[in-house]
Symmetry: C2
Subunit: 300 residues, 2 copies
């Protein structure tokens, strides 16, 4: 089994109440791929600049991540700078977004990835997401993320691709914005009416809601005392979730529910340190152990 993941690889400058991390590796596709690679093989498609050096490349080393689709282009790598302020550590304030080589990103899927069955489109321009969909006609599970910017400014393109999406993984604010509904459950229902087959709405420290035509599932987040840097939590949630369901080759509602617990578990590690620091020290048995612990915390 394997996942084709398309999105951004970046450098981040992040400030939180616990410190600062400058020019560390970030990007939605990086976080997603590292999280998913604990469960399955990931074929990554993204673009980096000339400044993405050997040291930066180490985050991918000795993992189940194929880098044939990681294109290096003249110029600088995508950069994001932001802060998670003390009064609300769960929401980032963006100071700067420099697209750099990402500006002209036109994902070309390597020939050998074109019969991928599981596809994750990280948060990129919905027109690019659409162009990837055309290159992978055989996909049997198409999952994607998006963000406020595309919901507001590229709504038509977004609505077009949503009709092809099997599993939309977005946060609660995006769910409400996309649907126009203030109540999250009504919002999820409305998004299913757009043609999305299943939706997971992530609520950060408050867990997640999963809805399909047949199922509604609600789960708290892992009760964490030690949140250092929330960057990448949402992407590693998606990575753990989709990595798990790909690894068991089961995309049913029940598999997705268990995947949500795995996704929550991986994300709970991500936030314990800056950038990928905690993820890079992790092994599968750490994840399995916390999965069990977290499952027990919810039992009654």
């Amino acid at each position: 089994m394997s996942i084709l993941a398309v999105g951004s690889v970046a450098f981040d400058c992040v400030k939180t109440p616990f410190g600062k991390a400058e020019n560390v590796v970030g990007g939605s596709c990086t976080y997603f791929s590292i999280a998913a690679s604990f469960f399955t093989d990931v074929n990554l498609v993204a673009v980096i600049g000339e400044d993405f050096d050997e040291k930066a490349m180490k985050v991918f080393e000795n993992r189940r991540i194929n880098l044939e689709g990681l294109e290096k282009k003249p110029g600088k790598t995508f950069r994001w700078e932001g802060e998670y302020p003390e009064d609300n550590i769960n929401e980032a304030v963006t100071y700067a977004t420099d697209l750099n080589v990402f500006m002209d990103f036109a994902p070309k899927i390597p020939e050998k990835y074109r019969n991928s069955r599981v596809l994750f489109l990280a948060n990129i321009d919905p027109d690019l997401q659409g162009s990837v969909l055309k290159q992978i006609p055989s996909a049997s599970l198409i999952s994607c993320d998006t963000m406020n910017h595309w919901i507001n400014d590229k709504r038509e393109s977004l609505e077009k691709i949503l009709k092809n999406i099997d599993l939309l993984v977005i946060n609660d604010g995006e769910t409400k914005l996309l649907s126009g509904e203030k109540n999250l459950i009504c919002a999820c229902e409305k998004i299913l009416d757009f043609g999305v087959k299943k939706i997971i709405s992530k609520k950060g420290e408050h867990g997640a809601v999963f809805m399909s035509k047949d199922t509604i599932f609600t789960v708290p987040s892992y009760p964490h005392k030690n949140v250092v840097d929330p960057t990448g939590a949402g992407d590693t949630f998606a990575g753990g979730l989709i990595g798990y369901i790909d690894s068991i080759n089961d995309y049913s509602d029940n598999a997705i529910k268990k995947g949500i617990i795995y996704g929550t578990t991986v994300a709970s590690f991500t936030i314990e340190d800056f950038s990928m620091n905690r993820l890079l020290q992790l092994n599968k048995s750490d994840i399995d152990k916390r999965f069990e612990e977290f499952s027990n915390l919810m039992k009654f």
Copy 2:
């Protein structure tokens, strides 16, 4: 089994995006008692004014609620006026609080209630809570609520009574304010250090966290599409919870976990209509049915 419940009975004027309810019955002790009375007998101790007429008294009719401790005094009943605004229906904005006869409330526990085993002190002045504690030396489960006002202005009195509390049931904002901690899990731990044996921190639409020395339990809220008026949700949560554990005469962590699911279930009905309207139409089998449904929504 029975519960002794001490707190307020009130008239409310409430505005929400779904309409207005004027001069309807409210009060923490009213909501708590009606919720708990689905499970067990409740001995209510509160004060009302002369305007609390026969029509208002109907909320208590044909329920397992003993009114011997409901004192009628010259003057007007406690009144609260507030709004749950459209942009955040989960948090009330208070427009007016007229204490009226509640100003001089000095709870006198009827002789026959003095050997009560389960005691719930709704949100009242911690000095009054302390005076009740002295009258009930035999209590084996003492539970209480409080609010920002007492945490800020009567901290010393509050800290004194907290040492006697077996189960503190407060919301997440109060948990953080009382502890001085921004992380909710750290906040709960710190409150256990104050001498409270167990704490439940209610997160409104995001569920609740329960912590004792041995247990941490986290639960989402019921995924509701139809929130009309959140007034009383927290008090009916406590009522369902404590009503249930009293009914099975088991105050263990495991019983409390199941009680939290019952509390969440009763609260999910409360918010479906203004005042007690939905609660008054409810029967135990409605609660049991939704309890099962809610339990299934969390299974994976």
